[in-house]
């Protein structure tokens, strides 16, 4: 075991640091621009230096660097420390763009990847349906090829950000006679198409980030399909892999844990900081055991991947989502307890989302609820347990239901 990076990578780190010192935060007149403009400007400079969207060819708006996971890690650490924006977040750049790189046509890549990476094109994910959640392959929304267009009818649900998205990537049944998994195709749909109706669903936090989407006689061009007819299931696997990585990220845990310690420092128990209370210290230290385990286990997986030995860490990889969403629930539960009476107060609009900085009590109240949502979204905990049991421990598969 050797956690040192070596000279070459330390040199790279210094180079990145120097770049950040010079370029972030912006200076002079640039610093007067609106925050989004500043981020955009900065990202262009970072792109020119080869620091963002490294996996994407120049042709598609990326900086086309040879894959180097250690450099990526260093960039990530340094940008984070400097508080500098890196890749635009969200499911478009993180999930759809890599899927198009894997499975899209050349036209689709050129047309969709660059504006997605710039943040000009926003996406939503249309998988779940009222009758098809965990059992996603049971979906029944249909697309029928009619001349040079697909005609879509159906109903999607829990579609995050559908209200503000420009496009949806979604799964639709195109071969009604094929077996369950085989009859599905992966389509890209302009959300402004005629016949689409988006109805917000109010979440328990009070916010409305997800929606129902109804399709009635919606027409989209025939070339909106990614991959071949009936192979949408395969294409969606590529997307789901990227989604799981998004949810299992241990850095998110560490940041939230640090905020939790801060909260314990600020909160009072019997007239003293809660952090001095022995029961609080015990709970914090126990939770940190989970946080550290996930952190180091992540490093171990990362190291194995660097050497092309993912198989050696398959079991912990399968566990990432369940483990980190559980740990996040532990973190937010202690936060909720620390809030005491303030935990009785509902969050206000600015505090609903994931983006809230865990600095306000309402933000923590929202996170306490949201942590449970993360145990459902992207494959609910029981489904993760099935995967761990069947693929990780070699237990028999669930009996196939009718």
């Amino acid at each position: 075991m050797d956690l040192r990076l070596g000279e070459k990578y330390e040199a790279f780190r210094s180079e990145v640091r120097a770049f950040l010192r010079e370029h972030w935060p912006l200076r002079g007149a640039d610093a007067q621009l609106a925050p989004e403009r500043q981020e955009k400007l900065f990202r262009e400079r970072a792109l020119a230096r080869g620091y963002v969207y490294r996996g994407f060819p120049r042709l598609y708006g990326g900086s086309e660097q040879a894959p180097d996971a250690l450099e990526d890690m260093i960039l990530d650490q340094e940008f984070r420390t400097a508080g500098a924006p890196r890749d635009i977040r969200g499911i478009g750049p993180a999930m759809l763009a890599p899927t198009l790189l894997d499975c899209g046509s050349e036209e689709q890549r050129i047309r969709f990847i660059p504006p997605t990476l710039r943040g000009d094109l926003r996406w939503c994910q249309g998988y779940s349906e009222p009758g098809a959640g965990s059992d996603l392959a049971a979906l029944s929304s249909r697309a029928v090829l009619d001349g040079d267009s697909w005609r879509i009818d159906g109903h999607k649900i829990w579609t995050s950000e559908a209200q503000s998205a420009d496009y949806m990537f979604g799964l639709f049944r195109t071969e009604p006679d094929a077996p369950k998994h085989a009859g599905i195709s992966y389509l890209l749909i302009d959300m402004r198409s005629k016949g689409i109706e988006v109805r917000p669903l109010r979440q328990m936090t009070g916010g409305a980030d997800f929606n129902e989407v109804f399709f009635s006689d919606v027409r989209i061009p025939a070339d909106s399909i990614v991959g071949r007819r009936g192979e949408g299931w395969k294409v969606s696997r590529s997307t789901l892999k990227h989604e799981r990585n998004l949810i299992g990220d241990p850095r998110y845990l560490r940041n939230s844990f640090d905020s939790l310690v801060e909260l314990a420092r600020r909160s009072q128990r019997n007239g003293r900081p809660a952090l001095e209370d022995s029961s609080v210290r015990q709970r914090l230290a126990e939770i940190e055991g989970y946080v550290c385990s996930q952190e180091y286990s992540g490093q171990r997986q990362f190291s194995a991947a660097l050497r092309g030995q993912e198989l050696a860490t398959l079991l912990p990889i399968l566990m990432n989502k369940l483990y980190s969403t559980d740990a996040m629930q532990r973190i937010t539960r202690l936060a909720f307890d620390l809030l005491g009476g303030d935990g009785l107060v509902a969050p206000v609009a600015e505090e609903y989302g994931m983006a809230s900085q865990l600095r306000t009590s309402g933000g923590w109240v929202a996170q306490y609820m949201f942590a449970i949502a993360n145990s459902i979204a992207g494959g609910a905990s029981n489904i993760q347990r099935n995967i761990i049991g069947e693929r990780g421990l070699g237990l028999p598969r669930d009996p196939r239901a009718k």
């Binding site: 075991m1 956690l3 171990r300 990362f302 190291s303 049991g389």
Partner: protein, 359 residues
Amino acid sequence: MNFGLSDEQELLQEALRGFCANECPPNRLRELFDAASGHDASLWKGLAELGVLGLIVPEAYGGAGLELLDLALVAEVMGQAALPGPFLGHQLVSLAVASAGSEEQKRVWLPRLASGEAIGTVALAEDAAAWEPESFRAQVQGNRISGSKCFVPGAADADLFLVGVAGGGLALVERKDAGVSIADQNGVDRTRPISRVELSGARCEPLSGGAQTARHVRDAGLCVLAADAFGAASKLLQITLAYTGTRQQFGSVLTQFQAVKHQLANMATELEPTRALWWYAAHAFDQIASESERAAAIAKAHVTDRALDVARGAVELHGGIGFTWECDVQIWFKRLMFDRAFLGNPELHRERSARLAGW
């Protein structure tokens, strides 16, 4: 960068697994467990031949000169095998002498410890909760020590005791001294029996470094216990997977039932990521001094906690047979009780880790 094991480390584990399977198969383990002697000369000799007794003793004194991470990896396999013997205490004495002994002490003891010819152990606690250097009370006058130590593993077979003395320091005491008497304490973990040791004016030789040395030795002990616990809990998981995969009820193997499958998946998920936790703690002990004390505290507290959860699930999933003396689950269950309580419970180490974090 590499957060992973070297080929040599994997080979070492492999070799030791083979040794345990051959030299301590289930019937032998059961005999040793029932006898509760905790020591078997032929096993000990075998370990010496494998080179694991002097693993962390410097090469100049006849050892292999390896690091704590290597030792922890060995401990994992021993935990898996529930291998009986005074290994833990022996290693801690070796470490203490190697890092804080005088040239004379090293020359006298290290080669004999490395070869297994002499057996060492640790005599630290004086009551149920007093494991930390600050709580040692044994009095030294001149080169004589008096005091009463408990929970000393493998005392009956040891030649050399590493004793905690008032003020937090450590001293060496020889078993054969007339001022040493030993009484069995009927330990719960029959693979590692414990004794009370009375010291009445026994000859002692202090090690250098005072409480600093004692903390260093403790941190190593915490890592080794965490690794042992991880090994023992993985073994329980394995046994339980095998049992539930063959035991039939309601016309089907138990693992076909989702309640059982999910319970097993939970047990595995609590345990598996902690592997990286004790790896890191041992590595920090070897290479990252600024983090080693805290990492060891977190690892010992967390791994032994999660391991005992696994142990509880293992007993439950075996049903009635799981609660019998006859069922081997108890061997590892009790091994884990030892790993958790020895050198202090999770509560103690969590409080320390909180303090070290500046909370």
